[in-house]
Each structure stands twice: as C-alpha cells, then as structure tokens.
C-alpha cells in the first residue's frame, strides 16, 4: 500500500505535465493554422495585381511611375515571403498596400476607367481581399497572444522552458488607409 501512494503521485504529475504540453502544442498549432490564413489572402492579393495594373494601364498609360511602384512592391513582398521574417514580410506587404492605394487613387482621376466592369470587379475583389487580410491578421494575432500568454504564465511556462517552446511574433500591419495620404501626381 505504502509503495502505491508515491507511484500514484508520480503518475498524476506525469498526466498533468502531458496535459500542459499538449495544450501548448495545440496553441502553437492554432498560431500556424492562422498564419496560413494570412498567407492565402496575401497571395490572392498578389494574384489580383497584374490584371489590375494592366486594366488601369489601358486608360492611364502615362502613369508609369505608379505602375512601377506597385510592381516593385509586389516583387519585394514575394521575395520577403520566401526569405524574410514575419516582421520583414509585414513591412513589404505594408509597402504593397500603400502602393495599391496610390494606384487606386490615380485610377479615381479616370472616369472612363471607373465605368469599366472589369475594373469594378477587380476593385471589389481587391477590397474584399484586403478586408480578409485584416481579419486573418487579427485572428492570427489573437492566437499569438493566447500562445505567448501561455508561455509566460504559471504553470505552462515551466513546461515551455523544459521543452523549448519559443514565443511567436505578431503580424503588425498598418492599415494602409490610415498610413499615408496618397500622393497623386498628374505630371
């Protein structure tokens, strides 16, 4: 009987540790799944850009500076996705968002373009995608917050230290509509 009691205590501790470990794994897994949500939407935005640029080009061919800026920002964002940290990637995507906003501001000056159905569709699509990016980012950050909180609070922090769980980074993205006033050049 006396031998059983320490055994039971040990068994309980093991079960407890397993539970905490699994909780951390679940939380980390949620962060990763949420990340793939953002990824999908960011890629969808890249996919929309070539069509958007060529449609606007048809009506505003001489705004080449604006087009170059968008195209370059897109390449930079794609490169950052390949090799950069979430922080670098967020920066690159921010720059792309700002470039796109500028493009749309330029397009505002062409009433004929505004009447084209293809442009309207692309525009609505882009707005929807940017909304989705914003919501995906919020969901991701919520999950990162939950996971990081678990890493720092007792008792999960002990398990996290033991098994080498590391904190995740937030995906900070400025809302492009608040970021800057678009510079529209009519040169």
């Amino acid at each position: 009987m006396e031998i059983l009691i320490p055994l039971i205590v040990i068994a309980l501790i093991v079960v407890f540790v397993i539970g905490l470990y699994n909780r951390l794994v679940t939380l980390r897994q949620r962060v990763r799944e949420a990340w793939s949500d953002i990824d999908v939407q960011l890629k969808r935005r890249w996919d929309l850009i070539p069509n958007l640029v060529s449609t606007v080009k048809g009506y505003a061919a001489h705004e080449s500076q604006t087009f170059d800026r968008v195209t370059q920002a897109r390449s930079a964002a794609m490169a950052a996705a390949q090799s950069g940290s979430p922080e670098q990637r967020a920066q690159a995507e921010n720059a792309l968002g700002a470039a796109l906003l500028n493009l749309r501001a330029v397009a505002e000056a062409y009433p004929q373009l505004q009447a084209v159905q293809e442009f309207k569709d692309l525009s609505e699509n882009l707005t929807a995608t940017e909304d989705k990016i914003a919501f995906a980012r919020r969901f991701y950050n919520g999950n990162v917050r939950d996971y990081n909180t678990a890493l720092q609070t007792v008792p999960t922090n002990l398990i996290a230290g033991m098994f080498g769980f590391t904190s995740e980074q937030y995906f900070e993205m400025a809302d492009p509509t608040q970021r800057e006033v678009p510079k529209v050049s009519f040169s």
């Binding site: 949620r30 949500d37 939407q41 609505e124 929807a128 989705k132 919501f135 995906a136 919520g142 999950n143």
Partner: protein, 305 residues
C-alpha cells in the same frame, strides 16, 4: 460599458452548450418514455413497461436524426435554397471575411425568397453550419448592417448555439406532434370505448394530467434554448468581430420596423431567427414563450458599447 472579453465568454458558452445538448436529449428521452408508458398503460393495463424500450429506441433515433439531419429539415421547411457560386458576391464576401476573423470554415449560404428581412443560422458545429438570409434582408440593409447581422449569426455558430437551438426546434416539434397525435387517438379510442364501459372519463383525466405535466416542460425547454443571454452574447461578440456595433443596431432597428411576417417561419422555427419572424400580436403566454429579448433593449446595449 465596454464589451465583455468575448473570447473567454465564447469558450464558456461552448462548454455550457455541450451540457445543454446532453440535458436536452436526456429530458426529451424521459418525456417520450413517460408518454410511451402512459399510453401503454391506458390501452393495455400492465403493458406500459413493454412500450418503454420502444420509446427509448424511438427517442434515441429521433435525437440522432435531428442532430445529424435536423438542419436539412429546417432548411427544407424554410424553403431556403443554397446560393450558387458567384451569386450575391457581396454577401459571400462578408461571410467569408468574418469567418476568417473567427478562424472557421465559411458556412454554406442559403436564401429565402421572401421580402420580410430576417436571418438565422443552423447546423451542429462550425464545419456543418449554414447561414440563411431572406431576400428582404439583402434588399433593405446596407453593407455595414448586413455585416452586423452576419457577425451575430456567426457568433451563434462559433458558440455552438446552433446545435442546441436545432435540437430544441426538432425535438420540441416532435413532442408537440406526438402529444397532438396522442390527444386525437385518446379522443377516438375513448369515444369508442365509452359506449361499452365508463373508463372514458378516466382516460381523459390521464390525458389532461399528461398534458399538464408536458406543457411546462416543453416551455422550460424552449426557455432553456433561447435564453435572452444567448442573444445578448451573440450581439456582443458580433459587434466585437465587426468592431462596429451601430451596424447591427441599425439592422435590428430596420428589421423591427418592418411589419411583414415571414411566411415560411412557424412556432417551431421562430426562435432560430435573429428577430421574431411571426410578428404576431402579444398574447397572455408570451412571457413564458418569449423567444427573443426585446429589440429596443438589444439596440440600447449595442449603442452603449
């Protein structure tokens, strides 16, 4: 007042709803078994026990059926049709965007061709959920209002309210149907017997007792399912999701101002909707069967956020 921390409340709501689901099935099985026993005793004294396994089997079967296929039943009864891809792109975008914010698979979207503005969600979990809106809702609400309504419905999906509400709708519907059917068979059977002996009065007494026991239980079930707290919580988490409480508040105002009744809704499905679709005149028992908190109060709370 600030909105409560909705994430925490959602997890609490999910746990509470898991218990409610179990309680519902237990109560439903109990009612049916008791009914079966009484029917058995009345028609063949001493034979009540023999009916019990039958009643258990039947209630188990119908609970399972309503859990897995109840949403199909409700959708069919509401004459809702699924949106084709590319139809109503704005609605689809709203549903997809808000679903991303909650981290769930976007539910299927259904449309009821009726000009009364209303909406509901049904299903058993986020992976098997459907959102239903009426044509009138799409026509009468602007984008932010529609977002508010969809966010409210998605909160019901995430909280697993849809599962409890669906079970209540189907199970309470079944109990109502059965007791209705029993009443008729008693009346018929009792009438036939009254010619031969004088047990008719006894049977009617039993029926009265059974119904007297049953009705408050059914009422309690409905209350359990459509607690006002649930609507307030869905309003609050919906507003937290869109970050724009006036959207839902304006939508509720428009829906309340509309006097048209939704024809495909009935007593059983009314509690599923975001606002009472029947638009019936208040009656004496309404306090007991109130399926929705007063809209004015919901709007007041949204505007205080």
């Amino acid at each position: 007042m600030a909105a409560p921390p909705a994430r925490l409340n959602i997890y609490d709501a999910v746990a509470a709803n898991r218990w409610r689901t179990v309680a519902l099935i237990v109560v439903f099985t109990g009612i049916l078994t008791a009914l079966g026993y009484v029917v058995g005793e009345v028609f063949a004294p001493g034979g009540g026990i023999a009916v019990v396994p039958l009643a258990l089997g039947f209630s188990g079967l119908s609970a399972t059926a309503s859990y897995f296929a109840g949403d199909k039943l409700v959708l069919a009864q509401s004459q809702a049709r699924e949106l084709a891809p590319g139809e109503e792109p704005q609605l689809r975008n709203i549903v997809e965007t808000l679903s991303i914010g909650l981290g769930i698979t976007p539910p299927r979207i259904y449309l009821i061709d009726d000009t009364a503005p209303n909406a509901f969600a049904t299903g058993r979990d986020p992976k098997h959920a459907s959102i239903v809106v009426t044509r009138g809702l799409l026509d009468k609400l602007d984008r932010t209002e529609l977002e508010g309504v969809i966010a409210h419905e998605l909160s019901h999906v995430v909280n697993r309210d849809i599962r409890v509400m669906l079970l209540v709708t189907v199970l309470v519907g079944t109990v109502a149907l059965l007791s209705d059917w029993m009443l008729r068979s008693f009346a018929w059977g009792g009438g036939a017997r009254r010619g031969r002996d004088r047990s008719g009065g006894g049977i009617i007494l039993i029926v009265a007792i059974v119904l007297a026991i049953l009705t408050p239980i059914v009422a309690a079930l409905i209350q359990l399912a459509v607690s006002r707290q649930r609507e307030y919580l869905a309003d609050a988490s919906g507003a937290l999701l869109t970050r724009y409480p006036p959207g839902l508040a304006n939508a509720l105002r428009k829906i309340a101002a509309d006097t048209e009744a939704l024809e495909v809704a009935n007593k059983a499905t009314a509690s599923l909707y975001i606002a009472n679709p029947l638009k019936d005149a208040p009656r004496a028992l309404d306090g007991l069967f109130d399926t929705h908190p007063p809209i004015a109060e919901r709007i007041r709370r949204l505007e205080a956020m």
